[in-house]
């Protein structure tokens, strides 16, 4: 798969990454090279193969329904870029 500048722009938008327009061709060529490289997988027929999501095929463990966490807002918000009145602040969201 060969990607062009518009593809990269679209992917960068989905991933919320600011990409310098001047670097789009470089990204496009790098990403295309990687995609071409991984497409080596196409050579093998996997139609009958179950995908493997986890190396160990275990089942999910369940947690008892207990409240174990205390309020640590002050500690957690000490590393936050912008808070006020206990709320995290972001530029105005319009819905």
């Amino acid at each position: 798969m060969s990607l062009d500048k518009d593809d990269v722009r679209q992917i960068a938008h989905l991933a919320r990454l600011a990409v310098d327009d001047q670097r789009l061709p470089e990204h496009a060529s790098n990403l295309s090279a990687i995609l071409e490289f991984v497409e080596a997988m196409d050579a093998v027929d996997t139609a009958a193969v179950e995908p493997l999501a986890h190396p160990l095929e275990m089942r999910q463990r369940l947690r008892p329904d207990q409240v174990s966490e205390e309020n640590q807002r002050e500690l957690f918000q000490s590393v936050a870029p912008a808070v006020e009145g206990g709320l995290y602040l972001v530029p105005r969201v319009i819905e």
Partner: protein, 486 residues
């Protein structure tokens, strides 16, 4: 015995005998770190004050008769492990200002075992890299040759141990990030079975592949460290509830009758001939120890790196979405709206390689491409795992090189992502399968260390460590020290 070239086991004995206090050891290593160590750029944060306090606590514990084998032994944590009250940067500008409010499970366990953390080791940004060149804090130098990379992503950990800045370090291994730098720096590094060590508090790169493990001079040290690191943790759903063997008590292994597989795919094109002959020599040593060899085939080996470079980026693209400039980490100046906040914070906070992988992963998961890339890679992943499963029906361990070449030069591969990815050609399949693997020093190529990789079956770390230990009883590669850091 000089402190900085000692093993963990030796330091443990010295502490037990009263030859040294933990404070003495800690001061000695801090001095190394702040002296000749600076040139390696192996640590991004030195926690001298906390280390000395921990050393004093360890000495008091010893005086009270409450010391274990690791009490008072210094070490460093890869900066991917969250450490309460200490910056945890993950090698990224994104987390340059992040003081973790909590400890990783591994950090708590090693601290409970009495170990003294000297600081945080440099690493490839978010563990994405094989050379430690992607770190926001600059590349780490290989103590054997400061023009060379130390490997990655746990390059700071490997260089710290090889350079005598700490006797042990934690690392994480997603596609070879413990084993490859261990090989390139001439130390021993173990990637345990997926699920053996809790991932809680270890900043995720690719959740289904990441595994923490020990890096030290010897297999014995790795055994001591793994004993302390491993253990059930309810907070990680993928961490197994399974007893942790006393690895250090079962190191003496009789290799007579042990069957070792040599995958023919690990000795083909691309393998440096000097590395190949070092591995051949190791095979000879193992034969002398009584092991039998059998050629095996891991037929889908050539698909491991391609599958990995879909799965790991896919998982990372999602894992790294939480770095959005809202609750922690880097936030751009004066965002004009929400989208600007996201895009500039992430664009400024992440380096090129991280952005590249996020974009590859985003693409691989996006509508219309999921089946062709992600699903396909998961299918190939099963083929790769099945290759190992059938191999382990015939052999007890698998042996091969850790890396196709010895350490390359800084800058040599940084412009070509795909050639960089191929440094992990022998290690990546092990992560896809979730198996344990260890790299042990096995010689030199052009003055730079060569690593031997042993791969075990699931939860067979004891056998892996035993086999590595046996080799280290008859060879002295692991005792070699780079001249500049002797």
């Amino acid at each position: 015995m000089s402190i900085h070239t000692s093993t963990v086991a030796e330091l443990s004995t010295a502490l037990a005998r009263g030859d040294h206090s933990s404070r003495e050891l800690t001061e000695a290593f801090l001095q190394r770190i702040q002296g000749q160590g600076v040139a390696l750029n192996a640590l991004v944060t030195v926690t001298a004050e906390q280390a000395l306090a921990a050393a004093d606590a360890a000495d008091r514990a010893r005086a009270d008769g409450e010391a274990g084998p690791l009490t008072g032994v210094p070490m460093v944590h890869k900066d991917i492990f969250c450490t309460r009250g200490v910056r945890t940067s993950c090698g990224s500008r994104m987390l340059d200002n992040f003081i973790s409010p909590y400890n990783a499970h591994v950090v708590d366990r090693l601290s409970a075992a009495g170990m003294v953390c000297l600081g945080k080791a440099n690493m490839d940004e978010f563990a994405m890299g094989s050379s430690n060149e992607t770190s926001f804090y600059g590349p780490v130098k290989n103590p054997w040759d400061t023009d060379a990379v130390p490997g990655g992503s746990s390059g700071g950990s490997a260089a710290a141990v090889a350079g005598g800045l700490a006797p042990a370090a934690t690392g994480t291994d997603t596609g070879g990030s413990i084993r490859q730098p261990a090989a390139l720096c001439g130390i021993t590094g173990l990637k345990p079975t997926y699920g053996r060590v809790s991932r809680y508090g270890m900043i995720a790169f690719a959740s289904s592949l990441d595994q923490a493990g020990p890096m030290a001079r010897t297999a014995e040290d790795c055994a001591l460290l793994l004993e302390a690191m491993a253990g059930f943790d309810m907070r990680d759903s993928t961490c197994v509830e399974r007893e942790v063997p006393r690895y250090s008590q079962h190191l003496a292994t009789d290799l007579n009758g042990l069957t070792i597989g040599l995958p023919k795919e690990y000795f083909g094109e691309g393998l440096d001939p000097t590395v190949a002959s070092a591995i051949d020599a190791a095979v000879t040593e193992y034969r002398k120890l009584g092991a039998e060899f059998r050629e095996i085939s891991l037929a889908n080996t050539h698909l491991a790196v391609p599958a990995y470079y879909v799965i790991a980026p896919a998982e990372c693209s999602s894992n790294l979405s939480r770095f959005d400039g809202v609750r922690f980490g880097h936030r751009c100046d004066a965002p004009k709206d929400l989208e600007d906040l996201y895009k500039r914070s992430r664009g400024e906070g992440f380096g090129d390689e991280v952005q590249r992988r996020i974009m590859v992963g985003t693409y691989a998961l996006s509508a219309g491409y999921y089946d062709a890339y992600y699903l396909k890679a998961q299918q190939v992943r099963r083929l790769i795992r099945d290759d190992f499963l059938s191999a382990f029906e015939d052999v007890d361990l698998i042996l091969g090189p850790t890396s196709p070449t010895a350490a390359f030069n800084i800058g040599e591969r940084s412009d070509d992502p795909v050639s960089m990815y191929l440094s992990d050609i022998y290690t990546i399949a092990v992560n896809l399968a979730g198996l344990p693997g260890i790299s042990v020093p096995a010689g030199f190529a052009g003055g730079r260390p060569v690593g031997l990789q042993l791969i075990g079956n699931y939860f067979d770390e004891a056998r892996l460590l035993g086999a590595a230990h046996a080799y280290q009883q008859v060879t002295d590669w692991h005792t070699r020290v780079p001249e500049a850091f002797a």
